[in-house]
């Protein structure tokens, strides 16, 4: 069964559903559908799921997220030290995967905010929009146009070019 993500990590703001005032004496048919759904589908499935969980809790086992040690970066490797290159490359790929997940999470938050707010999204989601803009710009700057065969070396070269451009712009400004 897919697990829900950690609700504590990002608390969704409380819903602002307005209290409805009853204007008719006709009962809400949605309640009948709700009870029917509860009796027919919800209760049996919950019961079976509970039984399965009780069975699985007898011998539980856990999995962990692997923590990798930091190794020297590509810019700290001596030239010709291919072992250092290999480790730096592996670390760079892991970092790129982490950054992709970060961008994905920020994008999901933005989408959730848009869905929640509806027509007010442009005003109430300003923080999320700003965060998404920053994060995507940073990702594009670092990993942007490297292409499929991008590796740590091409990324370092891109950073070098970026720094050269900045220095040139700073010098021209003087």
């Amino acid at each position: 069964m897919p697990e829900d993500h950690d609700w504590e990590a990002y608390k969704v703001p409380p819903t602002r559903t307005p209290v409805s005032e009853r204007t008719t004496s006709v009962p809400n048919p949605v309640n009948y559908f709700q009870t029917a759904f509860n009796y027919v589908l919800d209760t049996p499935i919950t019961f079976i799921r509970g039984w399965i969980e009780r069975w699985q809790n007898k011998n539980k086992f856990y999995y962990y997220h692997q923590k990798f040690r930091r190794v020297p970066d590509l810019s700290q490797c001596l030239e010709g030290d291919y072992l250092c290159y290999y480790e730096a490359e592996a670390q760079w790929r892991r970092d790129r995967m982490v950054d992709q997940e970060i961008v994905e999470i920020v994008r999901e938050r933005m989408a959730a905010c848009k869905q929640r707010e509806g027509p007010n999204q442009f005003q109430n989601c300003a923080k999320e929009m700003q965060l998404l803009e920053q994060v995507t710009k940073a990702y594009q700057d670092r990993y942007g146009d490297l292409g499929y065969h991008g590796n740590a070396r091409t990324c370092l070269m891109k950073q070098k070019h970026r720094m050269m451009e900045e220095r040139k712009a700073a010098q021209e400004k003087q």
């Binding site: 069964m1 697990e3 399965i52 069975w55 699985q56 539980k60 086992f61 856990y62 999995y63 962990y64 997220h65 692997q66 923590k67 010709g80 291919y82 072992l83 290999y86 480790e87 592996a90």
Partner: protein, 192 residues
């Protein structure tokens, strides 16, 4: 055409009934049961059929032997391994279940298979695959060997270059003929 034949058949039946009815009533005159006597061929005959199935018909249609044989064999071979696999997966997912995410306890180094969630992935990582650390070290060993090879090759090229250039090393010795064998009489006089 069908209507014509039915009309003709009805006409023939009427004629036969008239002949048969007139004959029987003419001869006996008492029973009055119609339709027993000999008839002309092609006339309608009352036949009793069972109520639930109706008249037994020989329905002509294309053969379904090959199709049903194919589908039956397909089902057989799919279920031959499909059902055991389905039973195994159901057992594993219901009674063993997936792992739960937990923080790494203090001072505990998890085994390499404890980083996977599903029990089958854990089993494969534990018994079939090499640990990722071993894989990493294997790759690094290969890189190390290639590195040493390339270093040695570069050194060899450099040594060859220098020895060829300086001529003071053990390589690049070429046999030259003895200088005492050279006949210098041609160049002894200045006018040649």
């Amino acid at each position: 055409m069908a209507a014509m034949s039915r009309v003709l058949r009805a006409a023939a039946a009427w004629a036969a009934r008239r002949a048969g009815g007139a004959g029987t009533t003419g001869i006996t005159g008492t029973t009055g049961i119609t339709g027993i006597g000999p008839r002309l061929p092609g006339t309608l005959v009352p036949v009793r059929h069972s109520g639930d199935h109706g008249k037994r018909m020989f329905i002509i249609k294309a053969t379904s032997f090959y199709d049903s044989r194919f589908l039956s064999l397909l089902r057989f071979y799919l279920f031959l391994t499909g059902i055991p696999v389905a039973v195994l997966l159901t057992y594993i997912n219901v009674f063993i279940g997936e792992a739960e995410l937990a923080e790494i306890p203090e001072g505990y180094v998890p085994e390499h298979w404890e980083y996977y969630k599903h029990p089958i992935s854990r089993w494969i990582a534990r018994y079939l695959l090499d640990p990722p650390e071993k894989n990493y070290e294997k790759d690094m060993a290969m890189i190390d060997v290639e590195m040493k090879k390339s270093e040695l090759r570069l050194l060899e090229l450099e040594a060859r270059r220098l020895m060829r250039h300086r001529g003071d090393g053990p390589w690049y010795h070429y046999e030259t003929p003895d200088k005492n064998l050279v006949d210098n009489s041609r160049k002894a006089t200045p006018d040649n």
